[in-house]
Point group: C2
Chain length 249, copies 2
DNA sequence: CAGTGGTCTAGACCACGTG
DNA sequence: ACGTGGTCTAGACCACTGC
């Protein structure tokens, strides 16, 4: 028996007349967020969604179009509509915005990753919206470029959302695909606060530069479905013949 | 007599079957680019566009929707659809991405603007796609924050696109609205290359910091309709309790 | 109140991917 | 060949703006 859902029609006297396609959008997002449809899996076809929700196919289509704009699904003509799946490749191209002046996007390596669990400090609590007693998992590592260190990353995530992450054998180059695969956390966007700082003694030694050398400092928060803050990251970069790319539209 | 335009219908045997709504989108963009419809002015209503191009209203609507996504027009329900108009306010919020750690977006002032015309150097020719003999207009100025210098801007634009700009009485705080108003150049996006550098003697003196102080350096190219490169800008910023914001989606 | 853009429907056909 | 998403049509009604 086909599932049917009641929606607030425009004619309703409640004044609660959010457009049908947005109400359906919300329900579809919830079905993705709740893991009913998993990354890489097809969602029902547009005619089926139209039938399930008792609307015309144009309206169902409009709802799916919203999900597509928010990059929650990918439509492939002739094949179907699939829940967006983070992969190392697309995570890199979407969220890793460091480029070599001559040779395109930097393909970073990784070194010396350490993982610890601790009580969240004030900055972590603020950036991740945590309460005073919350704990975080901290990942520290050095990223390399042509096998030489160029960036120090200090990553903090709420322990409550990432149970088990601290026990991981090793930390892969890209995390957002891991977050999605293993922790059902679907990162949709990041916000980077960028400044320039002088290398302190420790950073200088790690990066192989002189103390006082100008470094790019990026404080970044990642947001998941529902604009939930799920990761705080501080990166210190020594950019030699390289740059950080930002676009404004 | 109503204007009629011939479009390539899908049935056409040429194999040239670009969707109607995209063909119409192109024609609408051209009418905006050519100044037939000016910034702030309404474009024809959707029923009129449908009639002009001999398509259903849904198709005309889809074409206008594309323009809206590209921020070339603004739709206002009940009123009409208007060519997007840059204003100091919206230029700031869209393209000036410097924030005070405590108090939101920085509202910069401006000092000591100088304007000169010269032969384009190698970097300008590369960034602006100019040939060897091309000339540029260079604007140099110091931007202030709470009345103190915090950023040095060196702006270069092709003389061929900005005739008369060099004779301007004074340079306003925001340029993209001026470019649109006085030179018919509609900036749609910018691409920023960000690095950290040490302040040299001149920069340090201008910004009131010690030589060697880490500064944010931003090399930015502005693109207009048709992805034409229309401005190259180098900014040197001393960010004290402030940051540059970038978002990735 | 007339006219604008916004939502919704139903149906037709096209382009494409898969089996 | 079939089923998917993509395009296009025609018509109805709603929500909003401005006269």
């Amino acid at each position: 028996m086909p599932l049917r859902v009641e929606l607030m029609r425009q004619g309703g006297q409640t004044g609660n007349s959010r457009p049908l396609y947005l109400q359906i959008r919300d329900k579809l997002i919830e079905r993705i967020r709740s893991w009913q449809w998993r990354p890489g899996e097809p969602i029902p076809t547009e005619p089926k969604l139209a039938e399930q929700y008792g609307v015309g196919h144009g309206t169902a289509r409009q709802a799916v179009g919203e999900l597509e704009n928010e990059k929650l699904v990918v439509r492939i003509q002739g094949a179907g509509t699939f829940v967006f799946q983070h992969t190392p490749k697309n995570v890199m191209s979407r969220f890793f915005s460091f480029f070599d002046t001559a040779h395109g996007r930097i393909k970073p390596g990784s070194r010396r990753a350490t993982v610890v669990v601790a009580k969240a400090n004030a900055q972590e609590r603020r950036e991740l919206d945590l309460d005073a007693r919350a704990r975080v998992i901290r990942i520290n590592r050095v990223r390399t470029r042509r096998d030489r260190p160029f960036m120090i990353e200090a990553i903090s995530v709420p322990e409550s959302l990432f149970r088990g992450l601290a026990d991981s054998e090793d930390i892969p180059d890209t995390l957002y695909d891991l977050y999605q695969r293993s922790h059902r956390i679907h990162v949709l966007r990041t916000e980077d606060h960028v400044t320039a700082v002088a290398a302190d003694r420790a950073a200088a030694r790690t990066l192989g530069v002189r103390t006082g050398m100008p470094l790019l400092k990026i404080e970044s928060v990642a947001f998941a479905i529902g604009d939930e803050r799920v990761e705080f990251r501080v990166s210190l970069c020594h950019l030699d013949k390289a740059y950080y790319l930002a676009q404004h539209k």
